[in-house]
Symmetry: D2
Subunit: 475 residues, 4 copies
C-alpha cells in the first residue's frame, strides 16, 4: 500500500431485512461504502434459521463474485467493510463475526470503538471466556450470550449498557435484525427503505446506489428491532450529550452522503469559504489535494475570487501493493499517486488546499513536488484545525507523539512542511461550517473528550469491579 | 472428489518443542500424516510468548510454501491435518484452534471425537459461552479457560476429566506443550526425539521422515508436559480398560507405521493369512484393491499358494475435483481411479482382496469392472468383519442404515455386490492378527461400545447436571 | 466491467535502455500509463542476449509482484499495457510479443493500428507464414524477419515502409532498442532521460513518476536506435503531413501529460472556455462528469462566471467485475460509478460538462440521475464536436451505426439524452484549443481521413500486389 | 518437485472427432494419460470453423474446471500433457499449439522428438520465419503452412516427409483431424471408438477410462484422416524398420495399457521372471521400489519362490513443490516419498527390484534407507540393461556423462550404490520379455540408433541443403 498520511475510518456497516435479493443488495451497499474500509469485506445472511458467512481480506469486488453470492441464500443480511492497516490486519478480525450460543446463531457488524473493551475482556477472561480475535466487537457477543435476560433484545440491551464508547451496530439473529447506535451518536447510521423493506447503512450513499428511500438517521442511544413487517424503536440507554464525529464531515464520509442532518459536500464547501476568510493570501491559483481537498478548494476559490485549477493529477489505478524501485526515488509514495501539472504551477503563487494534517509527512512531500514543478509560492490551507489528540471512538489515529500539531507550533509545522504560509481553519469556523448546535465531538482538535477517556485508559488496571457486578446493573 | 466408499480418519496431529526449525519440522510431519486428513492443514508456532497461526483448506503442500513458513517463526509448533467431507468442510473448523484467554494464548490440535461435546457445549452456552466453530474440540478450550485451577496444567487436566470419548491432543501455550491421550487410548499418539528435542505425532511414519528416534507411545490416560529440557508424565485421569481403534490396523494408519505396539503391515499381512485359512477358494490369481488391500492380499497369496497379481491399476494423479462427462459413464467414479489389466483377469478365477466394506457401492463397481475385463469368477475377500455400528471415537462413519452389513446378510451383500463368493475375516482372527490382548476397540464390528454411548446419545436431553457441578468435580 | 460509453485508447508503451533496475523502472512507467490500457500488462527484459517475458491479463499492480520482477533480470526492458474489451481479450494478444528468428530474439510493444495489416497478413500467410495471435502487431515481426536486409535496423525500416497506419513502437533486440513513430505521428511517443539512461514512453506522466527528464517527442517518421551510450536518429520513412490524434487532448491522455507540444490540461481548459463562449446559457451551477469533464468544466465556469460544483461523486473503488442485483435497478451501470449530490443539484439550472458523446447511452443515464436529484434544467455541454466516423488509427470505436451523431441531428440527440439543451464545441474552436497549426487528425469528427482508408477497407480484396513485391520495394 | 532419478516421457496426446462432449472426453483422456506429463495440460476444440484453446502449467485436474470446459465448445478436440522439467518449463512451450495460416486455423499436439528440428528451424528462420516457442513441434506447423500443395492433407504429408525422428501427432483443422505416426513408430498411438466416434490416444488406458473400444494401433508411417463418418488411412512415408521404444514397456506406459501389441504388465512380469533366472540370489524377501518395480518384483518373487513384501511404502501425497528443512536431512528427497517398513527389512537378506538406473543417485539413497532399517544384505536387481546412451526420440535423458553406466562398470556401480550385489537384466532377456520380433528400439541400452543420429547431431552445421530443396522433394 502506498502510505498516505490520513486518519482512517474503521468501518462501514450495512443491513437489509426480508428482501429476496439480500446478499446482492448488501454487496451493493458495501460497494458504496468501500471508502470506509478497504482491508476486508464480509456478508452474513440468514437462511431459514441458519447463518451463512463469507468474509475475506480485500475489496468488496475481489472478495465476492457470482459464485460466492449464490452461496449466501437467505432474505436478511448484514455486511461490513474494514479499514486497512499495515501490520495487524488479519482475517480473524474481519467482520461480520458469527458465533453460536444458547440463544442461537448471532452475526454482528460494528463500526466504532469500545473504550472499555479491554477491561471487559479481562473480566470476561477471568470468568473463563475465550477470545478468537483481537477485535473489541467480540466482547459484545460475549456479553449478549452471558446475559441472563429472557429475550435476545433484552440481552442485547444489557450488553449495550455495559460497553462504553462508539458503536453503530447491526446484529442479525434467527428472529430479527437488531440495530444500535451509542448514546453519543459518535458514528453515523441511517435507516432506509427499498422495495418495501428496511435497510440500514453507515452512509446514505449506500441507499442512493440501491434506489432506497432515506427514512431518517438512527438516533443516538436508539435500538431498532426490525423484522419483515415492522421497525420497533427503543431508547434503553442512559441519555448522553450528542457527540457526532466532526471528522465524518472533514474527511471520512463521501461528499454525496447526508450525514448528521447535512450533506457532507455542503459542509466542506463552507469550510473552504471560511478558510478563505480566515487565511486570505494574494495568489494566482487555488489547487486542491485530490480528492480530499476538492470541495473546500472550490469554496476557497469562490470566496477569494482566485481561480481553481487541478494542478495535481491523481492516478486512480494505484493498487494495494506497490513495488518501489531499488534506489528509491525521493517522495515516491506520493508521486505514484499524485503528479503535478507544470503548466498550471510554474511561476505561480499557489494556494494548496487539503482537509487535514496528521503527521505532516505527506504534506511535506506534496509541497516538495509542487515546488519542483516551478511554483513561486506555496500557501497551504487546511480546512480543519490542528489535530492534537488521538481518537478513541473508531478512528485509527497515530499516537499523540506522532501528531505533528501536538508537538509543533503552526510556524514550526510550516517550516517542517516547507510551505510559504500555513493556515488552519479555526474550530469555531469548522463548527459553523457543519452547522453545529453543540452536537459534535471535536476531541481530536481540542483534547477534550466527551467521555471519561483518561480514566478508562490510565486507571483501568486498578479498576476492581467484578464482571458479575457489571453484568447485573439493574438488579 | 472422487467418491470412495471408505471410513475416514478424522485427523492427524504433530508437535515439536524448542527446535530451531519448528515450523518446517511440523510441515514435514504433517506431510507424512497427510493420509489422515486431506481437507485442511494448519500450523501454529510459539514466537516468544505470542502464537502465530496459518491454516487453510487443502493439502499440506498447497497450504504451505516458503513464504508462509517464513511467517511462522518460533521454536515450538503444533500442526494438524483434517479429513475431507463434501458439505460441512469449513475453514472455521480447521485446526489448530488458537484462542486468547486470561491464561494467555492457547493453540490446540485434536485427533478424536468427544462423545459428550454437545452436552457440554449446551451447558457452556447456557452459561454464556459463545462458539466460533462447530468443532467438538472447541469445548476443551472453554473448559480450560473456565477452570479455576491455579496452573494451566491443572486446568487442562480438569478439562480432560470433564470430556469423554477419544482424544489425542497437543496443546501449545506460552510456557510448555501439553499432550494428552484419553484413558481408553482410542487414537494413536507417539513420542519421539530429534536433535535432542521432543516431537509428538499421530503415527511413527512422521518420526521416520524427520529421522527422529521413536521413544514410546503416549500411554492411555497419560498427560505429558514438555518444555525444552524435560518431559513430565502424569496419569491424572481415572483408569479405563484400553480400547485401541482396531481400524487403525485395518485401514487408517500407513503400513510402515508402528501403532499400538505393532507394525501395521505385519497386522495386515496376518489378516491376509487368516483370511486365506477362513475363506479358501480355488482360483487362479489373487488381486488386491490398491492400495488398501495390498498387504492382506500378499498374506492371502502366500498362505494359499495362489499367485498375486496387480490386476487393478491405480491412477495416482486423481485430484480433489473431478468433472464427469455429460452422459455419465457407468461406474465412473471408480474407473477414474482404477483400471483393470485385462491380460491378468480375462478368463481367470479371481480372488479380490480388500480391507473392508462400508456401503458396498464401491465394491459393487469394482466387481463390475473386473467382470467386464473377462474374469470368470470373482471371490471377494475382506480382511475385517462386517461393519455394523457407527464409530463415536473419531471416525467418519455413515449412519447405521447406510452400513450394508447392518441390514443385509453376507449372502445378500454378496448378491448386491455381484461377487461369486464373499468372505469376511472373523473378529477372532482379526484380533489375533493385531496381536490383541484385550486392548482393542472393535465396536464397529460388534456394536458393543467401550463407553456408555447409548446413554450419551439418547439421554443427554434429560441430563440435568449443571455445568458448575461438572466444572468442580473435585471440590 | 461497468460499461461506460467512451472511446478507448488501445495501449501504452514504455522502454528503458542500460539501466540497472530496468524491470522495476518499466513497471513504474506502466503504472503511470495504466489509464491507456487495463486489459493486460507485460514486460520483456534483455538479460545478456536472452529475452525474458512476463505478461498476463489484468492491471500492472496485479500482473507483477516482487517475485515476478525478480525473474526479469537484465538492463534493458520494454513494457506494454493494453485496453480492455469484453469479448476478444486474450492472453495471446497481450504484448510485448517475443519471437525468435534468424536475427535472434525480438520483443515488440506497439501502440496504434496498422490499416493494411490484414492485407499483409493474407500475403504473408499465402507465403507460408503462421500466426500465433490476431494482433496486427505480429505482422511487423514477420516482415522484420523476412527482410533480406543485412542489418536488423535496415530490416526494421523495411518493415515500417510496408505497414501503413498508426504505430508508436518499441522493439527490443539483443543489440539495441529500436523505436519508431509513423510518419503521420498519430499516437504520442516521447524520449526522456533518467540516471543518464534513455527512456521512451507514450506519455510524459511516466517520465514524471520516474523523475526522468523530458528530452523531446519522438518525431513523426523518426526511427531511434538506442544503446547504452547513444541515440541515433533516422528519418527513413516517406514524409507525410502530421496527423496527431486530437482525441489524446480531448480524452485519452492524462491532464498532466505534455502531448504533441502542449499540456493536455491546458487544452481542455481552453476547450471549456470556448465552449462557454459558443454555448452560453443562464444557469446556477457548472457540474463536470468526473473525471473526464473536469478540466473543461473549470474553463467553462471561469469564462461564464457560473460557479463550479462537484454535483456528481465518483466511486473510485469500482472494480473490473460487477454483479448486478437480480431485479436490475435502472441506470445501474452508471449509478455504481456516479452518485448525485442532491444539495448541489436540487432546484438548480445545471450545466453538465463532458468531453464527448459516443453512443449517448451513458449521457442519457447521467442526465436521468441528475434530473432525479431535482435539477430544474440540464444543459449538456460537450467539449468536442459530434463523433461521426470510426478511427482506424488505434482507437476502439464502435461501428459508424452505433455513433449517435452519425444518424441523429444535435436536436435528436438532445431529445434522446433528455437534456434541456445540448451544445457541442465546434471543430474550429477545438483545433484552436489544442493550438493546432494544421498538424492534427480530426477524422472522427469530420469523416475525412489523413490516409486512403476507404481504399484500404473496401478494396483490399481486389488488391493484387504480391507480397514479394511489397517485400522488396527498393530493389 | 522431489527429484527422482528416472527417465521421463515427454508427452501424451489425445483426440476425438464429432462427439457432443468433445472437451470433457479429452479432459478424461488426458486424466488417464497424466503419468506421461505433469508439467502442463491443454485442450483445443473445434467450434464451427474456429479453434478454441486453453492450456496452462499444472496437472489436468488443476488446469481445467467446469467453467474452463464450458468455454471449450465444439465437437472435435485434441489434448496434450507435457512432462515437467526444472528450468525450461514455460507456458509458451505447452501444447496444443494453435496457429492461423492461409489454410485456416490449425492445432497440433505432438508426442516425440524431431531430430532435425533445429536444422529445419534454422532454414525456416533464414527464410524469414518467426518462432514463438522453443518447441520442436512448431516447425511442423511452419512446414505445413509453407507447403504449396493444394490440400491440407498433402501439405501435412509433405511436412512429415521433411521432419525426421519420433512423432505421434494429432492435428486438428476446420475440416478434419489428421493423425500421424513416424515410420519407425517410436512412440505409441492407438485408435479407439466410443459412441460411434473415433478417438486417438497415446495409450489404451485412456480408451479404457472412456469405455471406448480399442480398434488398433496407428501403424508406423501411417497417416489417418478422420472426420465424422470415416477414417481414411494412408502410408505416404518411406518405409522404415520399426523401432518401438522399449522403455515404454520398461517404465513409461501404465501397466494396464496395451502397447505395441502387448500388455505392459505382462512384459514387466516376464522381465522379473527372467531377472530371477539371470541373477538368482539366496535371500529372505523380494521388495519392489514402488511403483515402478512392482510388476517385475512379482515376477521375480514368483520365479524365485522368495516371498514378496512391500518393504518400502510410498507417500502418494507428495506435491509438486516441497520445502526441505533448513539443516537438510540426508536422503531427504527420497525419504519424503518412500519410507521403509522396519519389520519387513530388519535382519533380512533383501532383493530390491527396480526397473532401471539412470544416474544411480536415487538407488544409492534407497539402499541407504533400507540398510538403515536393518537389512542384512541388499541385492539390487534391475529389470532392464544398463543405460548407456541418450534418447533422441522423445525421452528426457541426462547427458551421456551423467548416465552412471556410461562411465562405470557394473561392479563400480554396485559400489557407488552400496548394494551387496547388483544384477541387470540382459538385453536379450528384455527383448524376449516384450515379445520382440526385431521391432524395438533399444538404443539407450546399446548406443546403436535406428536413425543416423551422429550425422544429425554432429554435422548439422555443415549441412548445406537449402530449405527450398527440402520443401519441394517431389518436384
Amino acid at each position: 500500500m502506498v502510505p498516505w498520511d490520513k486518519l482512517r475510518e474503521e468501518c462501514g456497516v450495512f443491513a437489509i431485512v426480508s428482501h429476496p435479493d439480500a446478499a446482492r443488495m448488501t454487496y451493493l451497499g458495501l460497494y458504496a461504502l468501500q471508502h470506509r474500509g478497504q482491508e476486508s469485506a464480509g456478508i452474513a445472511t440468514l437462511d431459514g434459521r441458519k447463518l451463512r458467512l463469507h468474509k475475506d481480506m480485500g475489496h468488496v469486488a475481489d472478495v465476492f463474485d457470482e459464485e460466492r453470492l449464490e452461496k449466501l441464500p437467505g432474505s436478511s443480511a448484514i455486511g461490513h467493510v474494514r479499514y486497512s492497516t499495515a501490520g495487524s490486519s488479519e482475517l480473524t478480525n474481519a467482520q461480520p463475526i458469527v458465533i453460536d450460543s444458547w440463544r442461537g446463531p448471532v452475526a454482528l457488524a460494528h463500526n466504532g470503538n469500545l473504550i472499555n473493551a479491554s477491561q471487559i475482556r479481562r473480566e470476561l477472561e477471568r470468568d473463563g471466556a475465550i477470545f478468537h480475535s483481537t477485535s473489541d466487537s467480540e466482547v459484545i457477543l460475549h456479553l449478549l450470550s452471558r446475559s441472563k435476560r429472557r429475550t435476545l433484545v433484552d440481552a442485547f440491551i444489557e450488553a449495550l449498557r455495559i460497553v462504553r464508547g462508539a458503536f453503530s451496530l447491526v446484529v442479525l439473529t434467527a428472529d430479527y435484525l437488531m440495530v444500535a447506535r451509542d448514546a453519543h451518536g459518535f458514528r453515523p447510521l441511517c435507516l432506509g427503505r427499498v422495495d418495501g423493506r428496511y435497510v440500514i447503512a453507515s452512509e446514505t450513499c449506500a441507499l442512493d446506489l440501491l434506489d432506497a428511500e432515506y427514512v431518517r438517521e438512527v438516533d443516538p442511544g436508539e435500538v431498532l428491532i426490525i423484522d419483515e413487517d415492522m421497525v420497533e424503536s427503543r431508547f434503553p440507554l442512559p441519555k448522553e450529550k450528542p457527540a457526532y464525529c466532526i471528522f465524518e464531515h472533514v474527511y471520512f464520509s463521501r461528499p454525496d452522503s447526508f450525514v448528521f442532518g447535512r450533506t457532507v459536500d455542503t459542509s466542506r464547501h463552507h469550510m473552504g469559504i471560511r478558510l478563505a476568510r480566515e487565511h486570505p493570501v494574494e495568489a494566482d491559483v487555488v489547487v486542491p489535494v485530490p480528492d480530499s481537498g476538492v470541495s473546500a478548494a472550490i469554496g476557497y476559490a469562490r470566496e477569494s475570487g482566485i481561480p481553481l485549477e487541478f494542478g495535481l493529477i491523481r492516478n486512480h489505478y494505484v493498487g494495494r501493493t506497490f513495488i518501489e524501485p531499488r534506489q528509491s526515488i525521493r517522495n515516491f509514495g506520493v508521486k505514484v499517486k499524485l503528479n503535478p501539472v507544470r503548466e498550471i504551477l510554474a511561476g505561480k503563487r499557489v494556494i494548496l488546499v487539503d482537509d487535514s494534517i496528521v503527521r505532516g509527512t505527506t504534506s511535506k512531500k506534496i509541497v516538495h513536488i509542487i515546488r519542483g514543478a516551478g511554483a513561486k509560492e506555496i500557501h497551504l490551507r487546511i480546512s480543519s484545525p490542528p489535530i492534537v489528540g488521538p481518537c478513541y471512538y473508531g478512528i485509527d489515529t497515530p499516537t499523540k507523539r506522532e501528531l505533528i500539531a501536538s508537538s509543533k507550533t503552526v510556524e514550526e509545522t510550516r517550516r517542517f512542511i516547507g510551505a510559504d504560509s500555513l493556515g488552519y481553519l479555526s474550530l469555531e469556523a469548522l463548527l459553523e461550517s457543519v452547522g453545529d448546535t453543540g452536537c459534535y465531538c471535536s476531541a481530536c482538535f481540542t483534547d477534550r473528550y466527551p467521555t471519561d477517556v483518561a480514566h478508562e485508559e490510565m486507571q483501568k488496571e486498578l479498576f476492581g469491579k467484578r464482571l458479575e457486578d457489571i453484568l447485573a446493573p439493574s438488579s
